[in-house]
Symmetry: C2
Subunit: 181 residues, 2 copies
Amino acid sequence: MNEEKLLSTKHIYSGKILKFDLDTVALPNGRTTELEILRHPGASAVVPLKDDGTVILIRQLRHAVGGFIYEIPAGKLDPQEDPRDCAARELEEEVGYRAGHLELLTSIWTAPGFTDEVIHIFQGTNLEVGKQNLDQDEVLEIVEWPIEKAISKIQDGTIRDAKTIIGLQMVFWQKKFTDDQ
Amino acid sequence: MNEEKLLSTKHIYSGKILKFDLDTVALPNGRTTELEILRHPGASAVVPLKDDGTVILIRQLRHAVGGFIYEIPAGKLDPQEDPRDCAARELEEEVGYRAGHLELLTSIWTAPGFTDEVIHIFQGTNLEVGKQNLDQDEVLEIVEWPIEKAISKIQDGTIRDAKTIIGLQMVFWQKKFTDDQ
């Protein structure tokens, strides 16, 4: 199949972080369609894993979903920022730890039907205490659980955030595979 | 911690599917902030699993991320639609299969920093051939892989869609656990 062709873009809104566009696109099947696109700068996230198998999560107020939810530390990329630097920065700012080692697990599309947001998910190990420094509109508490407990909280529906589920599952099975060797 | 309080909503845009609002919110920490929110009707997705361990994926053109990506069949909820009915409908429309059994694996928030989108992810088994019926702006091909191959495509970064990674991981480990019994 051939690729699509962008015919025009109508800018609907430019906010502090997000831009909302209405794109007119020629599809490979010959049709022309209008698509609503939210443009996002991208983000990094970290699964902070202590030597004893504890993971550090946050319970954060998320207005969009109407309450507090469990997440791994994460934040948006600054312009031109390297995703690894962003992961290190957000880890220390949100939960007050520095990671001696950051390993990229994967980079995900959160909702490719309507946004270009990508989240780079890292595993952070060799943790040492740093300095928490929250943004003024961040409302959160820190939760430390054995990773097996975090996985059970995915199974029972307590943890529902996409990047958090993917990061925890990848770290858990990687750790299990290593422990079993 | 207490909850937040919505002070006002400014409607920026109402499209065919998405609504974009600018909400002013009083946070539990006493601050007032403006938050950009994309309101979404929600969606259902299905991991179609054949008796022989093959999963059925689609390779779909996604304008927002600039090309073709691998996904499980999925689609938006119609108004008041039951997520299970939506899953069954999208499975048949997109890949031409009906599932004798649909089991809810989990319901995820795709990007809770800026949208209320929830995706209900099902496992579909006891598959039988139905009738594919694509929307006119859907451009996709069907791919059938052993689930082990699909998992390896997560590891190597070929599969990057959040709902697809979560669904495949959950089905794979559930199947592995059952097979090992």
